[in-house]
Symmetry: D3
Subunit: 274 residues, 6 copies
Amino acid sequence: MFFHKKELQYHAKPDAPDPVFAKKLQEVLGGQYGEMSIFLQYLFQGWNTRGNEKYKDLLLDIGTEEIGHVEMLATMIARLLEGAPVYEQEKAASDPVIGAILGGMNPQHAIVTGLGAAPKDSMGFPWNGNYIIASGNLLADFRANLNAESQGRLQVARLYSLTDDKGVKDMLSFLIARDTMHQNQWIASIRDLESKEGVIVPSTVPPEWEATEFSHTLYNNSEGEESSQLPWVGQTAPDGHQFKYEQPKAFGERPILKPAPPQAHDSLPGEDKK
Amino acid sequence: MFFHKKELQYHAKPDAPDPVFAKKLQEVLGGQYGEMSIFLQYLFQGWNTRGNEKYKDLLLDIGTEEIGHVEMLATMIARLLEGAPVYEQEKAASDPVIGAILGGMNPQHAIVTGLGAAPKDSMGFPWNGNYIIASGNLLADFRANLNAESQGRLQVARLYSLTDDKGVKDMLSFLIARDTMHQNQWIASIRDLESKEGVIVPSTVPPEWEATEFSHTLYNNSEGEESSQLPWVGQTAPDGHQFKYEQPKAFGERPILKPAPPQAHDSLPGEDKK
Amino acid sequence: MFFHKKELQYHAKPDAPDPVFAKKLQEVLGGQYGEMSIFLQYLFQGWNTRGNEKYKDLLLDIGTEEIGHVEMLATMIARLLEGAPVYEQEKAASDPVIGAILGGMNPQHAIVTGLGAAPKDSMGFPWNGNYIIASGNLLADFRANLNAESQGRLQVARLYSLTDDKGVKDMLSFLIARDTMHQNQWIASIRDLESKEGVIVPSTVPPEWEATEFSHTLYNNSEGEESSQLPWVGQTAPDGHQFKYEQPKAFGERPILKPAPPQAHDSLPGEDKK
Amino acid sequence: MFFHKKELQYHAKPDAPDPVFAKKLQEVLGGQYGEMSIFLQYLFQGWNTRGNEKYKDLLLDIGTEEIGHVEMLATMIARLLEGAPVYEQEKAASDPVIGAILGGMNPQHAIVTGLGAAPKDSMGFPWNGNYIIASGNLLADFRANLNAESQGRLQVARLYSLTDDKGVKDMLSFLIARDTMHQNQWIASIRDLESKEGVIVPSTVPPEWEATEFSHTLYNNSEGEESSQLPWVGQTAPDGHQFKYEQPKAFGERPILKPAPPQAHDSLPGEDKK
Amino acid sequence: MFFHKKELQYHAKPDAPDPVFAKKLQEVLGGQYGEMSIFLQYLFQGWNTRGNEKYKDLLLDIGTEEIGHVEMLATMIARLLEGAPVYEQEKAASDPVIGAILGGMNPQHAIVTGLGAAPKDSMGFPWNGNYIIASGNLLADFRANLNAESQGRLQVARLYSLTDDKGVKDMLSFLIARDTMHQNQWIASIRDLESKEGVIVPSTVPPEWEATEFSHTLYNNSEGEESSQLPWVGQTAPDGHQFKYEQPKAFGERPILKPAPPQAHDSLPGEDKK
Amino acid sequence: MFFHKKELQYHAKPDAPDPVFAKKLQEVLGGQYGEMSIFLQYLFQGWNTRGNEKYKDLLLDIGTEEIGHVEMLATMIARLLEGAPVYEQEKAASDPVIGAILGGMNPQHAIVTGLGAAPKDSMGFPWNGNYIIASGNLLADFRANLNAESQGRLQVARLYSLTDDKGVKDMLSFLIARDTMHQNQWIASIRDLESKEGVIVPSTVPPEWEATEFSHTLYNNSEGEESSQLPWVGQTAPDGHQFKYEQPKAFGERPILKPAPPQAHDSLPGEDKK
């Protein structure tokens, strides 16, 4: 179960209103790699963990912390929207700067949320449950988490260049730091699990389930052999076998499907029509 | 530009029809981590790559190969659907096995596609562009790719236990092998980039953008200290600094928002109402 | 079955073109609480009503009226888009006002609909069936309807401040009035049903299905006791019992999940890995 | 910021595995009116509240409590999935009961989550941010909340009849009770606000914005006058005016749109073509 | 504006309950090519039509008729769900037939709609506004309409084989007939417009906008020349020019993108890293 | 299986950066009728074709070619985004032109993709699998294809007017030409199939499945008889029968639904409540 404390984990106070930046900031709140994805991915992974109580605790630690990041972003967005002439149509007509604000902001911040944040990205697309994964396999999921923290820190770094507001930058510097921690943490956790299970997920596939002659070959399906010059090609692969580089080949046959039964009302085979 | 060869990359022929398994197999064709995600993620990453022509070539090699995996799965699904008594309602009434097939299969395979595959997952949810990422940062994206190949191989391994059909298992064994290769390849590529850029994405954030005092601390937001016993806690973090473990603390203030302007028609502040 | 009359229920004629406002107006046509939600929610509720022929008739009365509101909004949007220099790129280069229009409008109004309305919201997100509810329980659904009319009138009121166009304001004043009626009507209908069924939905849950010791307690899960000072805390609840205020407590146990079977290829329990 | 305690708010332990019921239970976790909708709606409303600190605290109290309900449901689903012969295809062939389980369960519970819960509904549709509203107007939003708790309790009551498992029923009885509390609480809060603001949302619309001659009329757009016999028709409306009942009439004109400019490449007007 | 008449356009009465068929029938109510798509596509096209008042009237005639088809389907679904032992879990345990019904039906019909229809397809995916098009170009849109009526009639014909219920088949025979009419009507309308505008949409593109040397060539991008044997290859194309058949060729260059600016935090070009 | 060649099918090089046009161009890459819809629709239709090997080859020819169109658009978008002052906030403050660019562009091009294309439309809505159809009936699907090429060419023609960039216009002129070819080709293919099967899809419905008395009547559901003056009304329909024009009539009864069982917790019938 959960508890809430009114104070924010970190400051979330802009120096000045900026409705256009409020729209952009929605990306890291409710976008594909926003904080909603982060906290819900960690909580679902934690709730679904079987055994591994230490990692379950880790997931619940961080997942719970990250709800507070959504809170900070929601607060920042609400403040970026307050004090701007958002509804002042008459001023907008005579003042092109106000006109530009009214044109460049997210209209839902004016019409739907009444100057508040929404669980959506910077283009108004709502957050959805297919952004996250809790697969039951911790090594697979920690790789998902490392990716999420990498994309997240990248997006925050780009937002940092899109504003001059010192208060906003202060909050972003905190998010950048936490994403550094979380990248460090998932790398360390991945190394821990890989040292026990090996690097290929899932580690439990019996060899007879795998057509191992295809497990280490890079096929050159795009004309030109630049990829063959990558430093690891021809070297030992992370799982201990040897990487190969080959031209692609068809191992299967040309697929000819049987006609459908009449009740499918598919097209009849061409031959029958003549 | 692209070219097609009619032969399949590998065999895709079931021993017998099985409409219920056809429904399940849709997951690795059009689900969150299905082959559509894989091929489109690699192609978009390849098309968006700036410089790094070797990695661009690698992405286009593998992205192009993977279109052929969608082709194999679509062919397999079409064959699992053919020859089964899918439309024979009268037989179903008297034969509970046929009844179970009609009940357990995806009705859209009968009604919408006429015994063909669809770009959807095993629950009928359509593939969508928010499943993939092409961020312009290769290290971030290769982590996304490693995750995708890990989740993908995990799902194929689970499907392997859900069928007894030797033809289906043969095709799955090929997919398992290719996912092994692709995990190997992304691990190798990640190590290559990390050796040049460092492990934290993006590597280009100036130190003054980051509140570094928060970059290495694990906060215990979930009661109980199991996570503190993880082997890497208290050790050197992957980026060379020291991991810390602390109780969470509020560094920010309680957020009090200003009232909205009258045109927002928000609720008036409570005080004003009394 | 349905019939159509060419005349609009009310005027829908702007004084002047305004493609940027056309974009905003899409919100109350095809947004979460737009008129499409309203009319389809009422029609589905009406079609699903069992018994209660008077309320079924009411739902079909209003649902049918509201199709005409979508018609008015679609007409208004088409007119706000006509006569503006939407496609005149050359003028835009030299005239910043035209440039701002081309930048601030919804590009799909130019590219996809050819100056017409679309079943989408102000950010281009399509209307979808999960916006509405027809649950079979009228009291529950009338509460959904009262909410929809409240959010809808709120959004129209906000749009009223975002334009100076007298023709647009005239149409909005009609929509505001109809939303007043519909709020009135659902409040009256709710009072009618509550007087017969009681206030808790559904009224038909037997007492032994409910852990009634938890049915009237407000738990203070967010630090600070401001909520305890709300006027109704400690008073008689609407269902006749007494409201209580308590600190939250865990009534359940710490959840420990069993390991998954090997075919799940989940991570193995931590102990087994050492 | 947030904190987590490992113990569940209430018991979540089924007597026996039941993968088919696990699929159904997803509805109240990740469906339109599931607990994810509830907790995120309350948190966003709380974060966006301006002034009204008591109600802000109430929203954060309940929103935080409800995260724990998602946790209980996720735990219950994980347990309903464990111990069942989910992956045992060979047994399924010979045992029709196992076959029915494999056919009737959600295949993603086997393939994607490895016997864990997902942020989706009972038909596999992911939770999304358009399920919720935080409008900035508390009276509007409390009506949304009352609706959500009404639909939620209705769905839990229906699920109660769909299982015989005593452990599941015990948990459902707790959820039913909490939904009783929350309906009581929102009714009390709505009465409080209505007593201060009046019943029509938003209360701040100036009379000259409203075409008041249309604010109290029920139009008979569906043939037959059953709705005219509703007890409140012809009575005083909740806002103090008189309800009227009338036959519908067109107050607007037939809409004739102007031709689009040539760059729209719309169809030319019919006359020009002849 | 719109009016409603209580009688259905045609009978919608099944001989017996069938919750599993109710699930399937949702496809033609709320699926990609269900009646919701049809009626909303025609209404939006009608509302957006500029000039061409006869076709505008046609679109509004048929769009209005089709709302009544949704009404018939909703009624049929509600009746297929009534009288079946949907909630009788105890009977299900001992009676495998009831068990199969509870397993094969759409759980939302039991939990969410209380035995009513929903605006969703047979897999529970909600109808959405991106299913339809109203482009402003009538010839383009009539082709969309002809496709929709073709897919729709195909799906109804397939459903016809999936039931033995005479009442259901009676209603389907009416829908099949109306779809025949609507295919006839759109073919006739398309021929009318093509005779005036020519066959290529839009007819208004000036020749200098088109690289006409590529306007009549079929490229053989899939190995094998079966397509060259189609009867129309080498003949006169519908627009009066000659079809050609050629091997594909790259007319463009290899795309080399410039590096991104540092603020993008993209990967640095490979050369710079060494 | 598939192969890739680095050279583009046609040039994709703008004369100058234009981030605002990059946003618009996304429509024909990842929108409802963008090139992703085209190529995936053709490939799925090709993979699902049973018999008709010539048309299967045609679908795979064109589907494969069209992947290259996505490639050209992705390249063009990446180039329209490079070299513009996308991240230069400080310049934007003092330079209104830069400010307008930052306000009018798609923020995800700056934040998410790092100056690359995304599989989304011009309003940021992701491409999804419900945009396409592969029904198994070729005549139905070729009508879908003709529609898609018509809408596609229409959108490209509109985009042509929205830019002055000669490099962009050059690429658009190629896409216009290819869409001309593909319209020609589907018209020819449709004529071929119609000559063999007849014009009504599916051609295989037995007459006794159809209530033929309703198969040729246009009902006047929208007041006014403009539609009766269309040239084909009263003439012979494309399938050889006679078109009729009639006033609409209810052939069905008023639907009265039975009460739900108590476990549905629907509202009780009105009579019982009094």
